[in-house]
């Protein structure tokens, strides 16, 4: 078992700066810093998707030292795969957070009982049933 943290402190700080650009405060939605995205939310994503750790480290290395806005623009113009990795991690951590979900009024994809009153367009289906066939006859 590897007990080492997924990212070192330097990388977490870099990710925190980028996350603030990716997910700033917007209306009732908190900024990434307000949910400490680069801490437990990040670890949760990397626990669920350990395959993202190596490409995340790689993309952070590629833009290290750049201001966060400039880093994002660099990725956008030159590294679509790296940008996708970064957005997957940050947006994944952000939208899994309960404060964000609450602000969105989003309960997550939940198990539901199927309705017992039909599939929802019975009268329209009956109309369609009464239409002449539209498939090509082959004989």
């Amino acid at each position: 078992m590897d007990d080492q943290p997924a990212l070192d402190d330097q990388s977490r700080a870099q990710l925190a700066e980028l996350a603030e650009v990716i997910a700033p405060r917007w209306g009732d939605l908190p900024a990434a810093s307000e949910i400490a995205l680069s801490q437990a939310p990040l670890d949760r994503v990397l626990a669920l998707r350990p395959d993202l750790l190596a490409p995340l480290k790689a993309v952070l290395d590629r833009v290290r030292g750049r201001p966060p806005e400039a880093a994002m623009e660099k990725l956008e113009s030159t590294d679509a795969a790296g940008l996708h990795t970064l957005l997957t991690v940050v947006a994944g951590a952000y939208y899994a957070h309960p404060d964000v979900r609450a602000a969105l009024h989003y309960s997550g994809q939940q198990a539901q009982s199927l309705p017992r009153d039909g599939f929802g367009a019975e009268e329209l289906v009956i109309e369609m049933m009464q239409q002449p066939p539209i498939y090509r006859k082959v004989d």
Binding site: W26, G27, Y95, Y106, Q109, Q110, A111, A121, M128, M129
Partner: protein, 450 residues
């Protein structure tokens, strides 16, 4: 969709369960392109009926886009608020629509629970509601004595001195290759894996690969080119829930109308739209994906979007093919498959036409904005046709019972055998054909001499 695991492609598939149209078996006769199948819809229909029961399909009979058929094993799943809007729009426009037929339980069925509308079908159904083969067929098969070897990778089909298949070489971990003997060998490794294995198995008398007298092993690859359009609505529809799965489908433009400038057609399927991450990561055309834009995208999409997917019938072309990569190898050193594929002008024209009609559909349904991906690059997961069926050994790889012309105790029971690919999802037809071939194999087992 390729997936190496028990249940194969069905573990991750969306479970759209569609029969071919009768015209799909007569493309040459009707449209003067591609080829006819050696069988027809009527011959396959009884096997469609049986296979629907085995997989557990929900839907409703009476669709005017198809010949009559028996009722489905289960009623349709709910089409959702987004489906109701589109259905009403199509009714006004005089366009076809029909509640989705899905290999997803709408009732407890086959020892499996009903769907809970979590919308995670494509990650594997954790409710067991989806009809994937790891649940529909393998448990029963094992109870009947079938031995399943997992984590095994076949590298070669082997032949005896008479040139008949007698087994396969495989590895299931470190150590030397193992040989498993068989009187009958059945290949079902997907339209990429199956020709690869045949080409890898080149042997004396089969220098360009097994069963390849026609030279068509690996050729005529068809991919179901896909476009996708998101419709954004003002009204909340809770569209992060729902089966995925098709809420409904449209075959209005599935049959040839030469006035459109192309032959054959496309099938449309309407789906819900997932959670906020899907909205955030979607490639919004010409827009940034972070900052205020990300919030705006999620705000517009979440619970208020639906998706039309359009699968275009691809015509078979011999230069679209699978062969062996001269450099890239798998973990055991065997050549990887290499794909050569060019999208035809017919498919391009077809998608361009369909994308305009999809826009009209969503606008009529009340969408205030649409987001079009005219050709989804990461799609093409319906690989088909690389070992085509036919009566003539010089122009086909397998016969009408899916036995290799050159090696009659070697069968190919996957989408490789398709002559043409229709516009509809292939799983029902792959399965019905496999059932038909298996029935024939059992009924004629005395003819399969050792």
């Amino acid at each position: 969709m390729l997936f190496h695991g028990v249940g194969g492609s069905t573990v991750l598939f969306s479970a759209h369960w569609m029969r071919f149209l009768p015209s799909d078996f007569r493309v040459k006769t009707l449209d003067g392109v591609a080829d006819d199948w050696p069988i027809d819809y009527a011959e396959l229909a009884p096997f469609y009926d049986r296979i629907d029961g085995q997989f557990g399909v929900s839907g409703i009979a009476g669709d005017p886009a198809y010949p009559d058929r028996p009722e489905y094993p289960m009623p349709p799943l709910p089409i959702g608020d987004w489906g109701k809007r589109v259905a009403a729009a199509h009714a006004k426009m005089g366009w076809h629509w029909w509640p989705g037929s899905n290999a997803i339980n709408s009732r407890d069925y086959g020892g499996r629970r009903q769907c809970v509308q979590r919308s995670t079908c494509r990650a594997g159904c954790n409710e067991g509601a989806k009809g994937s083969v790891d649940r529909t067929h393998w448990p029963e098969s094992e109870r009947h004595g079938v031995r399943l070897i997992t984590d095994a990778q076949v590298s070669r089909i082997t032949l005896d001195e008479k040139g008949r298949a007698n087994g396969a070489l495989y590895r299931d971990g470190p150590g030397p290759e193992k040989h498993i003997k068989a009187d009958v060998v059945i290949l079902a490794a997907h339209a990429i894996g199956t020709p690869r294995l045949l080409l890898l198995s080149a042997a004396k008398g089969h220098g360009n690969g097994l069963a390849n007298r026609s030279g068509l092993v690996g050729r005529r690859l068809m991919m179901h080119p896909l476009s996708r359009t998101i419709g954004l609505f003002e009204e909340p529809m809770m569209s992060w829930q729902g089966h995925w799965g098709q809420s409904l489908y449209c075959l209005q433009f599935a049959e040839t109308d030469v006035s459109r400038g192309f032959v054959r057609g496309a099938k449309w399927n309407l789906s819900p739209s997932g959670g906020p991450l899907m909205a955030a990561l979607y490639p919004w055309p010409g827009e940034r994906l972070w900052g205020a834009a990300m919030h705006e995208h999620v705000n517009a999409w979440l619970g208020r979007a639906a998706i039309w997917g359009v699968t275009a019938e691809d015509l078979p072309e011999v230069e679209n093919r699978v062969d062996l990569d001269p450099e890239l190898c798998d973990r055991y050193g065997d050549p990887a498959p290499r794909l050569h594929y060019t999208l035809s002008q017919n498919s391009r024209d077809m998608l361009a036409f369909m994308n305009q009609r999809v826009e009209e559909s969503f606008r009529a349904a009340g969408a205030y904005r649409t987001l079009l991906r005219p050709l989804v690059a990461e799609a093409g997961w319906h690989a088909l046709g690389t070992c085509r069926m036919g009566d003539d050994p010089e122009t086909s790889v397998v016969d009408r019972w899916q036995r290799c012309h050159d090696i009659p105790n070697l069968l190919i029971l996957d989408g490789s055998a398709f002559v043409t690919c229709s516009s509809v999802n292939p799983s029902a037809t792959i399965s019905a054909l496999a059932l038909r071939a298996a029935d024939h194999l059992v009924n004629h087992r005395r003819d399969v001499a050792r």
